[in-house]
Symmetry: C2
Subunit: 707 residues, 2 copies
């Protein structure tokens, strides 16, 4: 149910940097939304033309008001609408006629309130789309661009200017975060409340903010995305330019229920979102606090080019907590070079710890911190530095803060973080670090988590863009199978037809022959070599196990003959209606095979979601599976296999040889290819795929068609 979307990217300059702004519904009454918006625009120091629109005319907050939109001198770059909802559509038409470039509809009462609101929202969407007016909202808080002197929102107060952009589907979260940021010295480059996303959505924001020179880090809060494909495209492009951190809420069943009753959003499945974030390189964050911890880290420091963290501390306990966090988040404690240790020993007190964490003792002054930092950062095996300070009686909080700030400036290639434990006692130090752009945390854990996220981002950036891999196949032959199945109104493609599909995609499968008589079965088994598998063959029996229709390990001609009679007789008895063709004679799986499953389901938002896992209990009981969104690159196929926990079993335990991974990768790539080739196929599964050190065979396959 993705909303249709035009492919043309809107130019958001008039929206974010308007030269003229009309506030339609401006009010002289404090407390009214129309008053707050006008007030905020003035307070933000807007230097362009600011026109209140109010039927009573007169002057509002010192600005002469125009009584109606059609009396505006010209269409403004941006109009902010705070009128009751029944007036919104008409006003938009008038604004469009005037040549207005963009609008913010703050008014609520649209999609989020049910059917009539939904129709109204469709109407205003259409008006704006036809007039080429960018539309933010409805049902939103507005937009703030501090650098341009724009605060077109009814937020309380003005956020500081900063280098972090934030957009949110929840207006409430915008309110809360502005309020919280004000108390935490956090500033924003752009701040956008998306509301119902009738016009501008998260993809538009990503497109614009990716190229915004005032934004270093992009943060987002989304409950759903409007158009999976557009989102993926924009997110991939944006992540190549700067870090994008996002909360996707409504991830649990409880949350999703809340999400859909909230803005009428239909949430895609969480696994698909997870795969989409990974594919595009978005750092997924689970809660608001972590979002801002990470934003602070990303916005201020270079990315670490390696996993080794050095910790300098004036106290043992917090050093251990940092080292623990290091283990928890998968970083390494840097091991200092011998020369580093010697240089430290030359001047540090003898009871210091010369190995990471470097405990330089409770009486460490700024100078001791400074020299230790110099030496530790000079060690090539230090990739990032965390400076921990406990406000002991002898600690020089301000001096140390200045030393850290200096060092961060002089070391532009290694990120330097600070953790000044406490609050009151380290306040002045924190302020110095804040101004210097060194992220400073209260406790060590979030600092380390931030460094880890930055290192992940570094690793992703290092990767060359891998092209999606196209697999060879006979498309006509495959299309014919699908065509026949659709003509027969089949819901599934199984057995002969499925075998035909496998052949069209050049997939390795066990040698399989159809025997219409027991004589033929024996002849075919002789050809294939014993032992063989026999399976009942009937277009009407899709679940062969229902008629106990499979026998493995049939070892000789006599047994083949007996089993053939047995299977066909049983099928005839149990399913007298079914047309039984005979039996399929199939080559047995080679010894030492492992069973894996390769499948896909088509996500409504993001398209084919490819799944990989080990067969049997590993998928079903242990839930040990990995996902990727199609199209896949060779590396995706490489990684999806190695991501499952039971990968070790494929690699071989107790001296076993590893399975043929390349063939497995090709089968996974082919599944993605098939999913992209035939949108008519809703789901497919190769189950099991039998793989050993030499071969991989697709032993069974099932495909479900879109009804």
């Amino acid at each position: 149910m993705a909303q249709k979307q035009t492919d043309r990217k809107p130019d958001l300059t008039p929206f974010f940097q308007p030269r003229s702004v009309a506030v339609v519904g401006a009010s002289a009454t404090p407390g009214k939304v129309g008053h707050t918006v006008l007030h905020n625009m003035i307070e933000a120091g807007f230097t362009g033309t600011l026109i209140p629109v109010n039927p009573k005319g007169g002057e509002i907050l010192g600005h002469p008001a125009v009584p109606s939109v059609d009396q505006l001198p010209h269409g403004p770059d941006l109009a902010v609408i705070t009128l009751p909802r029944q007036h919104v559509a008409e006003t938009l038409r008038q604004l469009a006629d005037k040549g207005t470039r963009s609008v913010i509809v703050i008014t609520a009462g649209f999609k989020e309130v049910g059917r009539d609101g939904w129709y109204l929202e469709q109407e205003i969407r259409k008006i704006c789309a036809q007039a080429g007016m960018a539309l933010l909202g409805p049902n939103c808080l507005g937009m703030i661009n501090a650098a341009a002197g724009v605060n077109a929102s009814f937020a309380a107060g003005q956020p500081d200017q900063g280098r972090i952009a934030f957009f949110s589907q929840s207006g409430a979260l915008c309110v809360a975060i502005l309020d919280w940021a004000a108390g935490s010295h956090m500033g924003f480059s752009k701040f956008v409340s998306l509301g119902n996303k009738a016009g501008l959505n998260e993809a538009d924001m990503l497109d614009h903010l990716a190229d915004d020179p005032e934004t270093d880090v992009i943060l987002g809060y989304v409950e759903n995305v409007e158009n999976g494909e557009a989102f993926l495209r924009s997110a991939q492009a944006a992540c190549r330019k700067k870090p994008v951190l996002m909360i996707k809420s409504g991830t649990t069943a409880a949350g999703a229920k809340a999400a859909s009753s909230h803005t009428g959003a239909i949430a895609g499945s969480d696994q698909a979102y997870e795969a989409a974030f990974r594919k595009s390189g978005i750092v997924r964050v689970r809660d608001v606090e972590t979002l801002f911890h990470l934003a602070r880290a990303f916005s201020r420091q270079p990315l670490p080019y390696g996993p080794n963290l050095a910790v300098i501390t004036n106290s043992g306990g917090p050093g251990i907590l940092a080292a623990d966090a290091c283990g928890r988040f998968g970083l390494y404690m840097a091991r200092p070079a011998q020369r580093t240790v010697e240089r430290l020993q030359a001047f540090l007190p003898p009871h210091s710890d010369f190995y990471n964490p470097f405990d330089i003792l409770g009486d460490a002054d700024a100078q001791r911190y400074r020299r230790t930092m110099e030496i530790v950062l000079d060690d090539p095996m230090t990739h990032s530095l965390l400076v921990v300070l406990t406000p002991t009686a002898q600690a020089d909080v301000e001096g140390t803060a200045r030393a850290v700030a200096d060092m961060a400036r002089r070391m532009p290639d290694k990120p330097v973080f600070a953790c000044f434990l406490g609050m009151q006692g380290v306040r002045t130090g924190k302020e110095i670090l804040d101004r210097a752009g060194v992220p400073c945390f209260v406790f060590p854990e979030p600092a380390v988590q931030g460094i880890r996220a930055m290192y992940d981002h570094f690793l992703r950036q290092q990767r060359p863009l891998e092209p999606a891999e196209t697999r060879p196949r006979d498309l006509d032959r495959a299309a014919a199978v699908v065509q026949r199945a659709r003509e027969a109104h089949a819901r599934e493609i199984v057995e002969f037809q499925a075998q035909e599909m496998l052949a069209a995609y050049d997939l390795p499968c066990p040698a399989t022959r159809l025997a219409r008589s027991s004589d033929e079965a024996v002849r075919l088994a002789d050809e294939l070599g014993y032992p063989v598998v026999l399976k009942i063959a009937s277009p009407d029996i899709s679940h062969k196990s229902d008629v106990d229709g499979v026998r493995v390990n049939v070892r000789n001609p006599e047994d083949v003959r007996r089993v053939f009679w047995d299977l066909t007789a049983r099928a005839a008895q149990l399913r007298p209606d079914a047309y039984v063709v005979g039996c399929v004679v199939q080559e047995m799986a080679p010894p030492g095979v492992k069973e894996v499953i390769v499948g896909f389901r088509r996500d409504e938002q993001f398209g084919p979601l490819i799944m990989f896992g080990l067969g049997g209990v590993y998928v079903e009981i242990m839930g040990d599976v990995a996902f990727r969104l199609a199209p896949l690159s060779r590396r995706d196929a490489f990684e999806i296999i190695r991501e499952i926990q039971s990968y070790m079993l494929l690699k071989g335990v107790r001296g076993e040889q590893p399975v043929r991974f390349e063939i497995l990768e090709e089968i996974i790539l082919t599944m993605a290819q098939l999913a992209l080739d035939f949108p008519e196929i809703l789901e497919a599964e190769f189950n099991p795929v039998l793989v050993n050190h030499e071969r991989a065979l697709v032993a069974d396959v099932r495909m479900t068609l879109r009804s």
Copy 2:
């Protein structure tokens, strides 16, 4: 290397509530530790006798100083020592002679600086122990008991009085937390820096604080515990009385390395700590921020008696975040009764959400919050309530806070939490809630996490205390086996001896007979019934697979004879030195068995750590195991089986019957019994235990003796 510990519990009244305090090393020079301690005591409003001790005599901070300890009029209840370390021991002797009741040694330079410090520490420990003086430290920040007007620490400033007790092995963390708490309206009942724990340790704190009427919640930070057994005993007793939340740091390899170089503490394994915390009912916390979030929750509200959370909010987004957190932390969103929905519909605006989360819209005033809370809390399916407020323009922050506070007071059996998003805009509301004892959070996630932890604690409290289960066994027979092995200087108990142990513990094992000739083997196989297993029997061959010494599925007398010759000949050839007795003839595993592993290893701190898991790859590759500390109750055995992820396989998939869980439980209980019976056994493993729906057999066993 657990430190020896006397079993007598010290009376800590003179320590925590001294009537007289001597500050030995008191100084008139601001900035000196001896000055700060005296100053802190005065500032805390100490009303007892306060005596500075300083060789120069005179008056310090208005108190006449005594020139030396032996000139004290009498032994004080508490003496605080800030002297250089070389004077500490002598001073302690003098204090002991005077009849001093307790001492705090703030001075550093003991165990933490190496060998000479370690000896010094042993000396002062001995002096105090002999004199019966409670000893805190050395190398600590001191102790604070605000209610008693005691601040015997060199912390900067006075913490607020509150109902949370905190003790910490890291002095630095004490400093940081005091500083942070001062900025967060968090007060403490007792605040103790344990330092090197030469005397008082975490077990003593737990004993005392459990009965402290001023403490509602106990928080601790430990890097190691001194005496596992004492710790377990104290923690179990304390947790029965009030919630105990603890950080155990040094949990990762990196952290543990830091921990041991820090205070010379030898950390027990993390799994053993995990099991110990679980056994005693301690809530284990991973980071400092969470510790205080949870402390706030526990200290102020009743425990929820069920998992259903209701969320009332004036905004959608934060409601979804709360619902997501609910899913993440394993709570349920309460489903309102039809009557609740109808009552809400009777007065809430029509676009509200009448299902949980209850979104009462952005213009909700205090009265709307109040009535919604009344109705929602009245629903018996609501077990706890989270009230979310976003500071919208129309929100009545203070009025809503008062309404929430009221409601919490009137509903003493359901916990009420608040999340007032933001900071500046909700400050006044937060203060009202703070005073009313309603925990108020900035973002929803930590609030939900807090409720979850409280619900866990409720569940634990509900459990009747289950006695450890004693298993029947023939102790003399088992002791004889161990005795013989020790006399033979064996490192392991295997094969015949091990079988004898199994018999002594009445453990079911496959019928097993020793055949000294091929004739005897055939006769025994005839008796057991075919197929059978043959294994080489030699006291000198412990790894039978080294000589390929096992054959399963031997189906008839001829094969038994052939295999007997085969195995014995091979063994003779490969291990000419070994004394080959013959072959063991063993009953085959029944069909459909599953293999599980039951084992233990002896943790240095906490004793036998029992392990359970599914055999083969589940333990080795998937790491799917569970642990408990001995002794075990029947419920422990029940739970350890159900805790592993692959438990589903034992329960039976695809129509299989479940295994005989009772027998499995008995085998696990017996392993615990064996571990407790024989401290000489360092590790043991039943591997595999074969279990199906009828039986469970211990098919192989190995025990390692302490060398």
